[in-house]
Structure formats: structure tokens, C-alpha cells
């Protein structure tokens, strides 16, 4: 895993780039200036430095990415608004890199990274949640195209996305994992209908996507026909790494909100709540130090399985902390700011009301792999415990009970 690119090399390249492209002008200019700067950064291999040369990177070590990001940020350069294109960056890009043809990499990666094209993910279905491999959206071959029919759900950003990564069933007559293929769908194509999906917070962060005879050219297939499950593993692995993985200072995240609430209102303090707050503070700090250790393991090239612990405890903690905040606030916590149906593009756990936090956190143990599925994964892949008896892996998909 040793890289030829050293940190000094990288810094030299960045300095040279910044000398030629004025970051301040790009940030202060219009959209076109911003975009030109980002495209140039991509072309110079300074976008995701661990990607191959020619695809926005330099084949450098993954641990050097923060060096580049920090240097550009320090120079006041415009960024690619990563919060908005998280699915593209975190899921589509690594999948295209590993499984895409060279044409696909050339076509998709640059506008993905610059944020010109937003991506979404069409995996989950109403009947296929934890059991993703059981999904039923059909893709039928028709000449050089595939014709799609089905319904996808829990799609964030679908209403603004240009492209989607999509998993569909190309063969219902074989066992479920074997009959899937992986595609890139044009979200502007006819037969693609996006409807907002309101969640219990009152907002519609997600969408449902109905596919009715939507066509995908075969050139937009990623990996071989029938290899969709394998390709999807790359996507999902990267999703789990990307959720809840950011570096935070002590009391960063939701625990800081609870601690601030505790400090600001001595009148609400009780011994029982104190115990709860302290237990959560300790757990939050433990989770933070665990994430810190995971990042050090990653940087050392020895990723290890501890990352799955981070996602699982992130969900549990967010739920417990937000519940405790409501308990602490008492009557005042029962007042929400609004029940209006907004369409937020990001989840803001520290800037909204306590009721929002409590409700939204319920999704943390469902989205991106339920906590139950994660526990299965830890038990089997990390601890090596035996799988349960399976009844669904040798039967043709069409014959499974559902």
C-alpha cells in the first residue's frame, strides 16, 4: 500500500496549482468561475488524490486527502459543496471507479466531483429493505436498452439528481443474489417519476421513485449482467464508511447540544437526569475516541472492522441523547418550531429543535443499513459466528414467499 507520492510532493503541486489559479477570485466570482476552478483542480489530479491520474487523482495514499482539502480550504478556494453531493462522492464514485468501463469513468466522474451533476441511489424498495437482494424492480432487455418497471423508495436528492445508481432484477428465475444487475439511470428520462416522501418529522427529505417503462442504454450498465449484487457491495461498503465517520472535537455533535442545555438551565437539573447526562457524555466521548482510532487505523492502512461499531453506536447514541434532551427540557421540549413540510437537503442535528432531533434520530438505525442488519454483519463477519439456517438463497427469486 506504499504510495510514491509524499506529502511534500503533494503540497508542492498544490502550491503550483494555486499560483496558477486564483482561489479567491474563483470563490468570489460567479458560478462559471467556481466551476472552472473546480474543473481545473480535478484535471490537475487534486480532487480526490487517491484516485488514478486522469480521473481527478494522483494515485496517492488515501491519508493524503485531508492535506489537499485543508490546503485548498486554507487558500479560500471554493469547494464542491460535498454535503449536497454526498451520494455521488461517497457511493457512486467508488463504484464507478472499481466497476465502470473507461468510458463510464471518463463520462461520469468529473461532473460528479465538481458538483455539476448530482447523484442519487435507487436501491431500496417497499418490499426490499433489510433484504435488499430480494428487490423486485424488473429490467427487461430490449435491443440495446433495458426497460425498467418498479418502485424505489428512501431516495434522498432524487428530486434534484441528474443520475442514479440503480439495482434491478434482470433474471427472476435464478436465486435472488444471482439475478441482479447494476445500472446508471438518467433521472430526466421518460418513465421516471419522483414523488416526495414525507417522514415522521413532518418533512420530506426523501422521495419515492416510480419507474414505468423507463429506458437505460446497455452502455450504462456497471459490471456484468447478473453481477449487480457484487457491484452493490462496493457501494454499500462505502456508504457504511461514510455515515458517521467525520472527525469531531469533544462535545461535537448532539452531545454538545445536551451538555449546553444542561449548563444553561440549573433549574431543570435533577440527580436522575445528571446520571443520564453523564452516562451519555461518556458514551459519546467513547464513540468519538473510537472514530478517532478508526481513522488512525485507516491512515495506517489497516482498516479493521471497528468502523461498523461507529455507525451502530452513532444511531443508538443519537437516539438516546435526543430522548434525554426532551426529558431534560420537559414542557419546553414539547414545543416544535413547525410541522411544515420542508424539503431539506441535509440533516441538521444541532441547529434545529429538540423534537426534530428526537424524531429524526429514529431514522439513524434504519437508513443505510438497519442496526439489526449491522449486528448480523458484526456477528458473522467480525466475530465469525455461524449464519442462521437460510431458506432464501437456493430458491429461484420468483418462488420465494413474500
Amino acid at each position: 500500500m506504499a504510495s510514491v507520492m509524499t506529502e511534500a510532493d503533494l503540497r508542492a503541486r498544490i502550491s503550483a496549482f494555486l499560483a496558477e489559479h486564483d482561489p479567491a477570485a474563483a470563490a468570489g466570482g460567479g458560478d462559471a468561475d467556481r466551476l472552472a476552478f473546480l474543473r481545473a483542480r480535478f484535471d490537475a489530479g487534486l480532487a480526490w488524490v487517491h484516485f488514478p491520474t486522469g480521473l481527478g487523482g494522483l494515485g496517492a495514499g488515501r491519508s493524503l486527502q485531508p492535506v489537499a482539502d485543508d490546503a485548498f480550504a486554507a487558500a479560500g478556494a471554493p469547494d464542491n459543496r460535498p454535503g449536497r453531493i454526498g451520494i455521488g462522492l461517497g457511493m457512486a464514485a467508488p463504484t464507478i471507479l472499481v466497476h465502470g468501463s473507461s468510458e463510464q469513468r471518463e463520462r461520469f466522474l468529473r461532473p460528479l466531483w465538481t458538483g455539476e451533476e448530482v447523484w442519487c441511489q435507487l436501491f431500496s424498495e417497499p418490499g426490499a429493505g433489510s433484504d435488499l437482494a430480494g428487490l423486485g424492480t424488473r429490467a427487461r432487455r430490449d435491443g440495446d436498452d433495458w426497460v425498467l418497471d418498479g418502485q424505489k423508495v428512501w431516495t434522498s436528492m432524487a428530486h434534484v439528481a441528474r443520475w442514479a445508481i440503480l439495482l434491478a432484477r434482470t433474471d427472476p428465475d435464478v436465486p435472488k443474489h444471482a439475478g441482479l444487475s447494476y445500472f446508471v439511470l438518467d433521472m430526466t428520462a421518460p418513465g421516471v417519476e419522483v414523488r416526495p416522501l414525507r417522514q415522521l418529522t413532518g418533512e420530506a427529505e426523501f422521495n419515492e421513485v416510480y419507474l414505468t417503462g423507463a429506458r437505460i442504454p446497455d452502455t450504462q450498465r456497471l459490471g456484468d449482467v447478473g453481477d449487480g449484487w457484487k457491484v452493490a457491495q462496493t457501494t454499500l461498503m462505502n456508504e457504511r464508511v461514510s455515515i458517521g465517520g467525520g472527525a469531531l472535537p469533544r462535545e461535537g455533535g448532539m452531545i454538545g447540544v445536551l451538555a449546553a442545555a444542561w449548563r444553561s438551565d440549573p433549574g431543570a437539573r435533577t440527580p436522575g437526569m445528571h446520571d443520564t447526562v453523564m452516562r451519555l457524555w461518556v458514551r459519546a466521548e467513547a464513540a468519538r475516541l473510537t472514530a478517532m482510532r478508526v481513522r488512525q487505523q485507516l491512515a495506517a492502512g489497516a482498516p479493521g472492522p471497528d468502523g461498523s461499531a461507529v455507525k451502530l453506536s452513532f444511531a443508538t447514541l443519537n437516539q438516546q441523547i435526543s430522548a434525554a434532551e426532551l426529558d431534560l427540557l420537559g414542557d419546553e421540549g414539547l414545543r416544535r418550531d413547525s410541522w411544515a413540510m420542508g424539503r431539506p437537503e441535509e440533516v441538521d442535528f444541532t441547529g434545529r429543535d429538540a423534537g426534530y432531533r428526537y424524531l429524526r434520530a429514529k431514522g439513524n438505525s434504519i437508513e443505510g443499513g438497519t442496526s439489526e442488519v449491522l449486528r448480523n454483519i458484526i456477528a458473522e463477519r467480525v466475530l465469525g459466528l455461524p449464519a442462521e439456517p437460510r431458506v432464501d438463497t437456493r430458491v429461484a427469486w420468483k418462488d420465494l414467499p413474500r
Binding site: 431500496s124 417497499p126 426490499a128 429493505g129 433489510s130 433484504d131 430480494g134 423508495v153 428512501w154 416522501l197 414525507r198 417522514q199 415522521l200 413532518g202 435533577t270 440527580p271 436522575g272 437526569m273 443520564t276 437516539q319 430522548a323 426532551l326 426529558d327 420537559g330 414542557d331 419546553e332 421540549g333 414539547l334 414545543r335 416544535r336 418550531d337 413547525s338 410541522w339 423534537g355 428526537y358 424524531l359 429514529k362 431514522g363 438505525s365 434504519i366 438497519t370 442496526s371 439489526e372 449486528r375 437460510r390 431458506v391 432464501d392 430458491v395 420465494l400 414467499p401 413474500r402
Partner: protein
């Protein structure tokens, strides 16, 4: 206290079936969702007419002399439980239990009689989370001045009962300023109430308020048992019919064990609430202990059941369209109502001589 009857009588069973059947027809998950999504009415008036006038359940705690059924605590608990099971947006708890109890038997015949018939509703003007002595408003020359934040079901109440310096006053709803809040639990909306020299008449001594709060704690616990019970039943039913991995999801052992534990907790909550209700009905020898126990155990099981219900429904449980969130919000809000478990544990510690500090 060990001779209190903790099991249901045939009459109580009949009442339960009757209320449940009515609610199954008139208060479905979909109807409550529509109510909540509308964000306009203070409560479901049509449903309340059925509960109060149609079935005559608003007067269960009103003395017989004033047209009520006379301290039918066991029956009231059955009704509260069934209304909780349906997250029914009606002011039974606030009007027929809390306000009625706060009026006491010495209140004017006229108001109690009209509450009993369901013709009018009343709300005790205290914060929903109140568990100890309320802040008192100022009463002068037959008028009340002051403000109370976060009062449950006050928006639609015809009469507000206001704890003031020298007693409990009745104020017409039309004489006060009420501001609706976007409440966590919109099936029992809160509002802020302002009294600016609002005309008021003294209706009861303040001593009735603690009694009303204690009754509220027990009855809200009954409601929570009903709520938890819906969550468990609904989750079990869903997990039987939902297939993933070629199996009903309810056949997965980790979920089964969590539901078994939840059932144990619910079974215990049912016994504790039965005890608190039986104690109330018998005159309340063990009143404060029983009410605090009920409120703690009821709150805990309701929140846990609703949270498990959302989680075990997976994505669908996180949507607005599925009623699970109505139960989650009611559970969390009632957990705060009339004293959180934490507050009641603190009270209990004093009552049962397990103080934190050396005495």
C-alpha cells in the same frame, strides 16, 4: 392494600369492548392522521360527541348528585386505556379526568353537570408537565391576570380552571387569549394562555389540584398502557406478515426476544396501573406511591413500545403515512406530562424512605 382487585370485572370487560368497537369505527389511524395533518381543530369534535354524549363517558368521575356516574375510577381507566390505544384526539383526560377532579364535589352543580353531559369541556390551566404545586395567578375583584404556558387541550376548552392566590377560578375560554403551539404530540395540542383581567369565579379550593394531578398521573398511565399495547400488537401483526429473506420477519430471534421483553414490561405496567386505579377506587390509602409507580412504569413502557414499533416497522414506520409516529409522539409527550419518570422517582424516594440525602 393486598386485597385490592387487580383483575377486570365482567362489566369492565364489556365497557372495554364497547369503547374499543366504537373507536375501531370512528377513530382509525387514518382519521387521526388526517386530524393531525390538518393542524387546525383543537380536538376531534365528532368523536368527542360520540364518547361524551353518545356513550356517556364524560361524567364517570362526576358525583352522582351532579349528574355523573360518581367516582368510577376503574371505568375511567378502562376508557383512558382504550382512548390511548387509539391515540384519540379528544379531551377525555384533560376535561373528564383532570378538570373534573380539580372541580371536586363542592363545585357548582351547573358546570359539573355540563361537563358530565359533554355539553362543555374544561381544562386545568397548568403546564402539561406539572407534577407539584402550580404557579398561582393573581385574582382580583373577580378577574384573573397572568399567563400559563403549554396547557393541554386548552385551545378547545369552553372553560379554563385557573389556580390563583385564593382558590381555583373558572374563566370562560372566550375571555382569554390562546396561542396554539406546534406541539410534539398534535393529538393533544398545547397552547399558551394569557389572562388579562379575565372575568372569573371561584369554584373550588386549591386543595383539589394535587388530587387532580395524582389522578391525572394514574389515568395517563392507563392511557400509556393502551398506547403500548397498540404498539406491541401492531408490531407483532406486521412482523407476522412482513417477509424478508424468505421468512416472516417475526421469526427472527433477536426481534422475538425484544418483543418478549417488551411484553413482560407491558404485563408489569398493566399490573401496576391496575393497582393504582384500584387504590384510587378504594379511597387511596397508598395513593401517592401508587400514582408515581404507575406514571413511571407507564411512561417507560409507552416510550419503549413506540420506539420499538417505529424501528421494527423499518422504513414504513418512519413515514408520515404510517400511524406509528402518532404513538411515538404521544408516548414521549405523555412521558413528560404530569411529571416525568425522573420526577416521580424523586418523589417516590421520599415517600418510601429512600432519601438521597441523610435525613
Amino acid at each position: 392494600m393486598s386485597d385490592l382487585v387487580l383483575v377486570e370485572s365482567p362489566d369492565e370487560q364489556d365497557l372495554r369492548s364497547g369503547v374499543r368497537a366504537m373507536l375501531a369505527a370512528e377513530c382509525t389511524g387514518q382519521s387521526v392522521l388526517s386530524f393531525v395533518s390538518g393542524f387546525s381543530d383543537p380536538f376531534d369534535e365528532k368523536l368527542w360527541r360520540t364518547v361524551a354524549r353518545g356513550m356517556g363517558l364524560a361524567g364517570l368521575l362526576v358525583p352522582e348528585a351532579q349528574g355523573g356516574a360518581g367516582a368510577q375510577y376503574r371505568a375511567a381507566a378502562v376508557v383512558a386505556e382504550e382512548l390511548g390505544r387509539a391515540v384519540a384526539p379528544v379531551p377525555f383526560l384533560s376535561s373528564a379526568v383532570v378538570a373534573t377532579t380539580a372541580l371536586g364535589s363542592s363545585a357548582s352543580h351547573e358546570l359539573l353537570g355540563r361537563l358530565a353531559s359533554g355539553e362543555r369541556t374544561a381544562a386545568l390551566a397548568v403546564p402539561y408537565g406539572l407534577w407539584s404545586a402550580p404557579a398561582l395567578l393573581s385574582a382580583q375583584d373577580g378577574a384573573v391576570t397572568g399567563a400559563v404556558r403549554g396547557v393541554a387541550d386548552a385551545l378547545g376548552a369552553d372553560v379554563l380552571l385557573v389556580p390563583a392566590d385564593d382558590g381555583l377560578y373558572a374563566v370562560e375560554g372566550s375571555a382569554v387569549r390562546r396561542t396554539r403551539i406546534a406541539s410534539l404530540d398534535e393529538t393533544r395540542p398545547l397552547c399558551d394562555v394569557e389572562f388579562s383581567a379575565a372575568p372569573a369565579r371561584l369554584v373550588a379550593p386549591l386543595a383539589t389540584v394535587p388530587c387532580a394531578l395524582r389522578t391525572a398521573a394514574t389515568m395517563v398511565a392507563a392511557e400509556q398502557v393502551g398506547l403500548a399495547s397498540w404498539c406491541l400488537d401492531t408490531t407483532v401483526a406486521y412482523l407476522k406478515e412482513r417477509y424478508q429473506f424468505g421468512r416472516p420477519v417475526g421469526s427472527f430471534q433477536a426481534l422475538k426476544h425484544r418483543l418478549a421483553d417488551l411484553w413482560v414490561e407491558l404485563t408489569q405496567a398493566r399490573a401496576v396501573v391496575a393497582y393504582a386505579v384500584a387504590d384510587l377506587a378504594a379511597g387511596g390509602d397508598d395513593g401517592l406511591v401508587a400514582a408515581s409507580l404507575a406514571k413511571i412504569v407507564g411512561s417507560e413502557v409507552a416510550v419503549r413500545a413506540a420506539e420499538e414499533c417505529v424501528q421494527m416497522h423499518g422504513g414504513i414506520g418512519f413515514t408520515w403515512e404510517h400511524p406509528a409516529h402518532l404513538y411515538l409522539k404521544r408516548a414521549k409527550a405523555t412521558s413528560v406530562a404530569y411529571g416525568s419518570p425522573d420526577r416521580h422517582r424523586a418523589r417516590l424516594a421520599t415517600l418510601v424512605d429512600l432519601p438521597l440525602e441523610a435525613s
